[in-house]
């Protein structure tokens, strides 16, 4: 049987979900016998191949134009898209800026902070524009599996992946459903 192809990416996230993914520890060896990790933020290849993959794990909310493009690309190239972690599922902690305009948020962060002297707003063509609001994945693209958690612990990530490897759609319910840091 061909290995299933898996790609991961992180958007507006703290990397904690990927750390938790690595926390599946020695099971990674077993996992890598059964999957092909085509790309991830922590490997050389960052994006899944155009030919597509079976499973995409996305962590983080969507807070700028690059992330918006990234999640759309992930959706196009992944048969099953998994929103991994509170930020991907709900927008999470990044949505704290949503009550204010992006201009106010930038000014608050780069100009008005008490420790800032002569601050200027960052502006460069390489820097992506912020979106008006931080959004969860499913406000932009359809999501197939949701896994809450800040981060979801390694066992729950392992459960989701091992179900997919076994050819089943994971059901995140009962004790597998935990919000935030309520592990």
């Amino acid at each position: 049987m061909a290995k299933i192809k898996v790609a991961t990416t992180w958007l507006e996230a703290c990397a904690g979900c990927h750390m938790s993914f690595l926390d599946i520890d020695e099971r990674l060896v077993e996992l890598l016998n059964q999957i092909e990790l085509t790309s991830s933020p922590i490997t050389d290849l960052k994006h899944p191949p155009e030919s597509g993959v079976d499973v995409g794990l996305v962590t983080g909310g969507i807070g700028n134009e690059d992330e918006l493009a990234e999640v759309k690309m992930m959706r196009e190239r992944c048969k099953i898209l998994i929103a991994l972690g509170d930020c991907a599922v709900t927008g999470g902690v990044c949505t704290m800026r949503n009550p204010w305009s992006k201009e106010d948020v930038l000014r608050c962060g780069y100009v008005e902070t008490p420790s800032t002297v002569d601050g200027t707003l960052p502006g460069h063509e390489d820097l992506p524009e912020l979106t008006e609001r931080v959004l969860p994945l499913d406000q932009v693209v359809p999501v197939d599996v949701y896994l809450f958690g800040c981060p979801p612990n390694a066992d729950r990530i392992w459960y989701v992946l091992s179900e997919l490897v076994a050819g089943r759609m994971p059901k995140v319910e009962g004790d597998l459903l935990r919000y935030g840091m309520d592990e």
């Binding site: 949701y146 319910e173 919000y179 840091m181």
Partner: protein, 565 residues
């Protein structure tokens, strides 16, 4: 009341007429989810989570308000109900900030529990980007309107349990918020910081400043014990983690006050205790108090007390066990024992009242006491009686915090009117305190009412039961003072006047600083033993945290001292 029979989820359930479906289901062991329901207050059917299907009734019924009737066939967990509850939860999560990841209530939140129960694995609706204010104007706890589910439990406990009526809803629809006194900051309102709303909040909307992020559920220890801040004896649970005190909660099901606490019991001991603790035995050497070992200190204490002419004085901030040990030790020292602090006048009463009689009374006479100031929970209970049309009669010659709530205010000279008022009442209750004047005492005696004496000392009733009464201590050559954590000063403890003094105390004070030997004592949360409340109930104290190293229980200290005499 008659027996009624229902079928709930296929189970035969027996209830009483007048009960709701929720009550009958609960007694039959069927768990219907609730959110706005709280056992201490009336139900309003607001949150829609307790919806059930009743055969032959149209639509869904709210189990918390729907009266149970004979022959009802009720279904509480159908796919349709699960779908509806799930949608209700989606709407609740959508309306405000219910991001668990940075909420202090996560891990001990009723909204979260319900979302788990109905498998909300994602949110259907994007949250509107609107921030409500956070009201941090109160000293002990914070109101974050963004975490509020508008269940109105806080409003109802403030009305029905505390009878303080500070809270109400303001605005309409999604703009609704819980408001204090029609829009004042909570800290400037009539709020009395009893914390009953805090304890009844199902989410992270009301948060205790001290214990926030201190741990939840399995991470904390809960020790049932008795509040020792006054003589009412409210039953509390001390919440601690890793031997650190987090907070105090009332026990809803436990008499005498059924979960009702006051600022003095819930917050003050944790937030406002600034006195310096005595944590090592101290002996006076070359004029100064210096640290000593327990053996040295006990030897020095015994040597001083052996010289004779000893008087023992105890405060009411001690357990029954410590007071009994105190008497034994004083017998070994061949000295008399006496009480520090005010005592309750002896009133000949036709019948005695329990604390639970106060809210059920139709006439509450308060004489020689200021319950709202000194034993606040009794004041709240009297106000609760007033909410049920009871008359409050205040007998006071000076200012009294209860005065704004009194229907009749009498001075000691006007107490003749009491007999007429009592004659009109069906369930009169008399609360009398240490400031009772002779005239008022005379007028009260003989009234056909239930009497409750408000002991001024924390365990004053326990002291009285042990026969420890005030005593003239002048001329003593040596003194043993059992102070506990009582705030003592020169006006309640007679001046030392050269007498050799041993103080068993939890905190430093002027009296302690003048002593010759100081033996450290535990504080409320560290004690075990019993106290006797103002009704005469013997209530247990259980130690929630261990004593600091160097502190010993008074019972052991006094026994060791006695063996040296």
């Amino acid at each position: 009341m008659s027996e009624i029979h229902l079928t709930i989820d296929g189970v035969e359930a027996v209830g009483q007429s007048g009960q709701t479906i929720l009550q009958v289901a609960k007694s039959a062991g069927v768990d219907i989810p609730t959110l706005c329901h709280h056992p201490m207050v009336s139900d309003l059917g607001g949150c829609r989570l307790c919806l059930v299907e009743v055969e032959k009734m149209r639509g869904f019924q709210t189990a918390c308000t729907c009266p149970a009737t004979e022959g009802m066939i009720v279904h509480t967990e159908t796919p349709k109900l699960a779908e509806t509850r799930s949608l209700v939860l989606q709407l609740l999560f959508y309306e405000r900030n219910h991001y668990c990841m940075y909420c202090p209530a996560s891990g001990e939140c009723e909204l979260q529990d319900l979302a788990y129960r109905y498998d909300l694995d994602h949110w259907l609706f994007e949250r509107p980007a609107e921030n409500k204010d956070v009201d941090a104007s109160r000293r002990y706890f914070v109101m974050d309107h963004n975490r509020c589910v508008l269940c109105r439990r806080c409003i109802r406990v403030c009305d029905e349990v505390v009878a303080n009526h500070t809270l109400q809803m303001a605005f309409r629809g999604s703009h609704s918020i819980v408001s204090a006194d029609l829009g004042l900051p909570f800290g400037e309102s009539t709020c009395v910081s009893c914390g009953t709303c805090l304890q009844s909040c199902p989410t992270g909307a009301l948060v205790d400043r001290r214990s926030v992020y201190g741990g939840h559920r399995e991470q904390v220890d809960r020790t049932p014990t008795t509040c020792m801040q006054c003589s009412v004896g409210c039953q509390i649970e001390v919440v601690s983690a890793h031997n650190r005190l987090l907070r105090v909660e009332g026990v809803w099901e436990a008499e005498p006050t059924n979960g009702l606490l006051c600022v003095d019991g819930r917050f003050a001991p944790l937030y406002d205790e600034k006195r310096e603790r005595v944590t090592r035995p101290l002996v006076r050497r070359d004029g100064a108090l210096v640290e000593a070992s327990w053996n040295e200190a006990l030897d020095a204490a015994a040597a001083g007390l052996r010289q004779g002419g000893v008087v023992g004085l105890a405060t009411a901030a001690n357990t029954n066990e410590a007071l009994a040990a105190f008497k034994t030790t004083m017998a070994a020292a061949k000295g008399k024992v006496g009480r520090i602090g005010k005592t309750l006048p002896c009133v000949k009463a036709s019948a005695t009242a329990a604390v639970t009689d106060i809210p059920a009374a139709d006439l509450v006479i308060i004489a020689g006491a200021d319950p709202l100031e000194q034993n606040r929970v009794l004041g709240y209970l009297a106000k609760r009686a007033k909410d049920h049309e009871a008359k409050i009669v205040l007998v006071a010659d000076g200012e009294n915090t209860m005065a704004p709530f009194a229907d009749v205010k009498l001075t000691s000279a006007e107490v003749g009117q009491l007999a007429g008022l009592v004659a009109e009442a069906k369930q009169p209750v008399v609360l009398y305190g240490a400031e009772l004047t002779d005239a008022a005492k005379g007028a009260l005696e003989g009234l056909e009412a239930k009497f409750l004496g408000i002991e001024p000392g924390r365990n004053g009733r326990g002291m009285a039961d042990l026969g420890i009464a005030p005593l003239d201590a002048d001329g003593a050559k040596a003194r043993l003072l059992l102070l506990g954590e009582e705030k003592v000063c020169g006006c309640c403890v007679p001046t030392q006047n050269g007498a050799f003094t041993v103080a068993v105390a939890s905190y430093r004070s002027d009296v302690v600083n003048e002593a010759d030997v100081v033996l450290p004592a535990p504080i409320w949360a560290e004690r075990s033993g019993h106290v006797t409340n103002l009704e005469g109930r013997v209530l247990a104290l259980n130690s929630a945290v261990t004593m600091p190293k160097g502190v010993r229980d008074e019972v052991d200290t006094l026994a060791d001292l006695a063996s040296r005499l």
